[in-house]
């Protein structure tokens, strides 16, 4: 049965019927959900998030043709493994931004450019997205980042250095900042 299912996923992709491919991937923080469209990585689910609920959301917002197809996520898994290993500082994966729009998209695109090992504040993100006073909205844009880790919203902190929030939980945010040498330990 497993061979049949692999063959089905491959044929679906070849015939353009695989709108959303997904796979689970291991990380030092727990299991991640990775989902991509033919355009690129569209969603990363963090270990404390409900993968089934994320898949239902993708079925509603992108396409119900959602299939488990690990082969389509090989490159994403490879880059993430290297990142967690401290051997990759900049992701090269193509991204599909279709789950965001407006000011949130503007903020998230700028987050994507914060270099490894550096941090910014919510205020700085609001300013660089064109509205310095929209600090709260910038915080919301971080919280709704559909592609965490690859779009490194863990590098955005409160003015004064407090961690702020994180969709994957604060211990994970701290762990990531430690991995990047921002925090000691």
């Amino acid at each position: 049965m497993k061979a049949s299912l692999n063959r089905l996923a491959e044929r679906a992709a070849a015939e353009g019927l695989l709108d959303v491919a997904y796979a689970m991937a291991d990380s030092p923080f727990g299991q991640l959900l990775l989902a991509s469209t033919p355009r690129g990585l569209v969603r990363v689910g963090l270990p404390n998030q409900d993968a089934d609920a994320l898949l239902v959301d993708l079925a509603t917002r992108v396409s119900p043709r959602v299939l488990e197809a690990p082969g389509q996520l090989d490159e994403a898994r490879r880059e993430l493994d290297l990142y967690f290993d401290g051997r990759l500082e900049r992701f090269r994966l193509p991204l599909d931004w279709r789950l965001s729009d407006g000011f949130q998209l503007a903020v998230q695109r700028r987050i994507a450019r914060i270099p490894f090992g550096q941090t910014r504040t919510y205020t700085e993100m609001a300013r660089s997205a064109g509205n310095e006073r929209a600090v709260r909205a910038a915080g919301t844009a971080c919280g709704r980042n559909p592609i965490p880790l690859v779009v490194p919203c863990h590098r955005v902190l409160r003015t004064g250095g407090a961690l702020g929030g994180y969709g994957g939980g604060l211990p994970m945010k701290e762990g990531l900042l430690r991995l990047e040498g921002v925090l000691d330990g």
């Binding site: 049965m1 049949s4 299912l5 089905l8 679906a12 239902v56 079925a59 043709r65 959602v66 299939l67």
Partner: protein
């Protein structure tokens, strides 16, 4: 628009039943082709489906249609004499006896038995898949079972 669940849920829940229907109708050797065609066809039509009520019945009905297509294509296919294998390619597996007997039934009876017992469809849906009345479906099923009893006795 209906909210359709991720297609993977259909696979997780019903792949086993679809495979059973394919085995029952086209035999073990061609079952995987029937299985692939069924799910690809379902995947193609899925986003436009306007009712998510009975996805299992929908899949089983597609599997039956693919099996009919398969038999039609096979009937027309010329026999490549030079390539005829000298030994049976299909090794019967343990527990397969009943499905071998089902495979030997006349087409309508075979379809009715497979859809009822591998597909677990009610008479009304078997009738819809076969394009006949529920009474005719019930009759085909009854005849098929009678014959199986005799064969396997």
């Amino acid at each position: 628009m209906t909210e359709l669940p991720p297609f993977q849920t259909l696979i997780d829940e019903h792949a086993g039943d679809v495979m059973a229907v394919c085995r029952g109708t086209v035999g073990r050797a061609d079952a995987d082709d029937c299985f692939q065609e069924t799910f690809l066809s379902a995947l193609r039509a899925y986003p436009e489906l306007d009712e998510a009520g009975n996805l299992r019945g929908w899949l089983i009905t597609i599997a039956h249609r693919k099996a009919v297509d398969h038999h039609r294509a096979k009937g027309r296919r010329p026999v490549p004499v030079a390539e005829v294998a000298e030994v049976a390619v299909e090794d019967p597996e343990p527990g397969d006896g009943i499905w071998t007997a089902v495979g030997a039934l006349p087409p309508k009876q075979r379809a009715a038995v497979t859809l009822r017992y591998a597909g677990d469809l009610p008479h009304s849906e078997i009738a819809a898949a076969l394009g006949c009345s529920p009474e005719a479906a019930r009759r085909s099923l009854h005849e098929g079972i009678k014959r199986l009893r005799k064969e396997l006795a």
